[in-house]
Symmetry: C2
Subunit: 286 residues, 2 copies
Amino acid sequence: MKTFLDCIPCFIRQALDAGRMASDDPAVHEQMLRDVLRLTSEMRLSDSPPRMGQQIHRRLRDLTGNTDPYAAVKKQFNRMALKLLPELQARAAASKDPFTTAVRLAITGNIIDFGPTGTITEQDALDAVEKALVEPFYGDIHGFRAALEEADTILYLADNAGEIVFDRVLIEYLPLDRITLAVRGVPVINDATAEDAEVAGLTELVEVIDNGSDAPGTLLEDCSAVFRERFYSADLIIAKGQGNFETLSDVPAPIFFLFKAKCPVISGHAGVPLQAQVLVRGNNAT
Amino acid sequence: MKTFLDCIPCFIRQALDAGRMASDDPAVHEQMLRDVLRLTSEMRLSDSPPRMGQQIHRRLRDLTGNTDPYAAVKKQFNRMALKLLPELQARAAASKDPFTTAVRLAITGNIIDFGPTGTITEQDALDAVEKALVEPFYGDIHGFRAALEEADTILYLADNAGEIVFDRVLIEYLPLDRITLAVRGVPVINDATAEDAEVAGLTELVEVIDNGSDAPGTLLEDCSAVFRERFYSADLIIAKGQGNFETLSDVPAPIFFLFKAKCPVISGHAGVPLQAQVLVRGNNAT
């Protein structure tokens, strides 16, 4: 997906928020903002939005000297999600259609905002899950299940820390020996890395690799050769979250995207209502 | 008031909205955005936000060749407000404290968003007025009234088209022979110019001058010498709207600001809750 003009005010807001998250120094906030204003004034709109996200967060790491400004937030997200895990697993198991519930829960992990201070209670999170399980859902869950049954190799592209614990609920309903879970190669925003996969207990369940990249999405040309080989040889790819959708929506590959359409640009591009939970096939996911 | 970092994402959003309001050409929208990203990357934060607004709208006029992109919207705002005028005048006259009601109505004119398509009905607008009359109000209305009684020369700085009709309700409770109404010198956004003052029937009631400037506020160094002379010699100045507050809040002059605190930066600077209706004295309004 290309970058739309409406993405740009959002980049600027995100740059300011990221600067404030990573540093208390107003001079850093100002410099982040000025740098990102200049970068976006010259950006190629044919690039997908996570390409700019990558540049913003490289600049943030350079300016602050902090290689993982979101480390504490990610730990907090994982901790809270792990506290919920037994309840989530029980919810899926007890439901009429455990697989569909597990798919919804995996998307739900992308919805819950644990907040920067991590002050949300377990009950708040469970209430959000409750609500999410009855939200509008767009997609062919039966086609997805059939494709899973036929695939010998399945590549699961994770999205965020915390969310990756919710992914585990779905992964437990998938054929574990055929799954490879891929995470980001380098910390960027609150995206899941190998450490988060381990904390979520996923390294014990499935093979875990990283993509070698620091983009908050999957920019194939930026990923390691090893990852690309796995990507192109997979029979089926499950791509979680908006960042993976933005970077892979035009790639001809057997991808199923699972995400919450949180912004009008994405919902427009995917052809679904804003805030919908979406399971959408990529260009070649037949 | 200086420009805060939080103003900047808002400038970018406004530049895109303004480009789309003034032109159907996506190339113009993109150019507006790129130009404003570059301008803001280099801006002086010690300037008040309307200085950037002035630059944005100069660029918009240059790019589109349209000297008044908001002309149709302004006409629509005036027309709707004029339809409401008899009801507004009656509401003030019938209230327990007509002057205070008129002050609130003048602020209310700054609240109602007639929408870009002007599709709001008269009833919608009256409902909004009804709500606005009971909203939280911050300010010393008795001090304002006392200051008005003592002042021989009163300069009233108008804000927007449409809103200027609401100003008329208040102006009718002021000593007309001591009032000079000032409007912008050149069309910028939907700010009121001499034409709007005439349409609102104000040229028949009070002296009307323009400030000679195309800023969406009152940048004194940018205004005509004639306006500045009137500004500095006035016994009392009534400044309507956020743009006038942003540009004049640090000026030592006997100003009473009347506005709705529509954004967190302004409400923080004024020390009032977000969305409050505010009557606030300037640095020297004693």
